[in-house]
Subunit: 261 residues, 2 copies
DNA sequence: TCCACTCAAAGATCATATCATTTACATCAA
DNA sequence: TTGATGTAAATGATATGATCTTTGAGTGGA
């Protein structure tokens, strides 16, 4: 139905018919993240009303949300200007999703991976000092389940357990911001899965390290928990790195011809 | 002019007359962050139209923004429900500001301080591997200026230099998300200043450590840069800790009777 | 007891009008 | 020529009222 602009590789982030607001927002957000609407470009409301064939209300509400994300700024007598990426709320989950679905995918992947590399070791350290008995037991149990799933080669299940494991650690750190961060990481991991960037046959090592982290936290050994998590992050970072070095140049259609499939 | 509800300790985050949208948004955001509108509470549009004496357009636009922050969810036939804090976008700068102006101030302070404790050392490490010659020189120069300001006892100037120093390090890390994080930290530091929670007579040690970080980064010694930043963070964390242990119980009017003044 | 139907409440969307601000341009005086 | 100043048009901001759509609760029959 829309083969006119052949640039957008992004599948719509919104399900199907999720309300006009959501659809217009998604379309504009994708366009901005994807660079089709470059910083400095000017829109105006009436133009958008025509383009999307929706009412002013819808457009204005969308623009307010985009403005709160830092994507645009409205000025009277001028119109609506796209702002440079330095103004964006790059921590907004919505933005993460859009960027993962755009050409900036790899940059987004790298940013978040670096972020979790920085945060999770400290979270593990804090968790060791704050976790409750039951939570600690659950954590060890989770690591065990991950082992089982890894051995069985059940990638789907392993992914979910992996996400849950890290979520629990961040939750136990007692810092709400860390937990929210995990939402972003989960976005990345599932996104990676969705875009078939998942050569993720879990290594023996990784399984052991998860177990180490869990054990160290349970025994309230903050330093060891941090150290184990650092290793885990180094491994995850290495995996990611191989990914974006592999697909660094062919920016265009990254998720089509992956030869090893 | 508004002495009716005596609970809100929060000064409006918006200047004065910044448009109806901004004012209503600020008021609702503050109320939600401050707990006056508890999770589960139900609003409806017409009620808000009456309460704020603005049009439906304004209210709807505000609600869309609040929804994108994760503060509310609108359901037909029910109304607009306040969501629990676990749904909030705690990385939204606006949210940070609201929370710093509310009773949850100390929790917010702690969260962000922990976050930067985790991130900045890694950022310093990355910066050592990526920074350009000129940027590195500037960084060393900044540390020197901080020394001068610290010696001269110019707290205002020191604060600005401090913020700028950390911003430069995060910028040099080459990770956009780290830079945005610094905006949050700056929000905290200036907020701390604004709320008179600033017993911040910079220690001799801290000055030296800033110099160490700058030097290590310039010499591309990632490990040493990280280590120096860790020490810096430990010191900053210690300062903060003494703050919120001091004012932990008297939640009510935290910024009135600080005896040591 | 339980399922299907009906109705009304509330948000979602639309259409139109008016207000307010700001930029561009023209006008006029020095 | 230049600079100040006033004026008009463009555009977002706000207001208003109507209609559409969804959905929860009540109601009645099997």
């Amino acid at each position: 139905m829309e083969p006119s602009s052949s640039e957008v590789a992004a599948a719509p982030t919104v399900p199907a018919e999720a309300g006009l607001h959501a659809r217009v927002l998604d379309h504009l957000g994708t366009a901005i993240c994807g660079g089709e609407l470059a910083p400095g470009a000017i829109l105006n409301i009436d133009e958008l009303v025509d383009r999307y064939a929706v009412s002013r209300s819808v457009v204005r509400e969308v623009l307010r949300v985009l403005a709160s994300i830092g994507f645009i700024e409205a000025r009277r007598r001028v119109g609506v200007m796209i702002l440079p990426a330095s103004e964006w709320n790059v921590f907004d989950p919505q933005v993460i999703r859009w960027r993962l679905a755009s050409a900036g995918r790899m940059a987004q992947l790298r940013s978040i991976t670096e972020l979790r590399t920085a945060v999770e070791p400290h979270a593990a350290y804090l968790a060791a000092g704050r976790i409750g008995h039951d939570e600690a037991s659950d954590l060890v149990g989770l690591a065990a389940k991950m082992w089982a799933a890894g051995e069985a080669g059940d990638e789907e299940r392993f992914l979910h357990l992996d996400i849950e494991f890290h979520r629990r650690v961040l939750l136990a750190s007692g810092n709400e911001m860390f937990v929210r961060l995990q939402d972003l990481v989960a976005e990345v991991l599932t996104g990676r899965h969705k875009h078939h960037l998942m050569p993720h046959h879990p290594h023996e090592q990784a399984l052991q390290m998860h177990a180490d982290v869990a054990q160290a936290i349970q025994r309230r050994d903050g330093a060891r928990a941090r150290q184990a998590m650092v290793q885990l992050m180094e491994q995850a970072f290495g995996e990611m790195k191989s990914l974006w070095e592999q697909i660094s140049v062919p920016e265009q259609s990254a998720d089509r011809g992956s030869a090893t499939r």
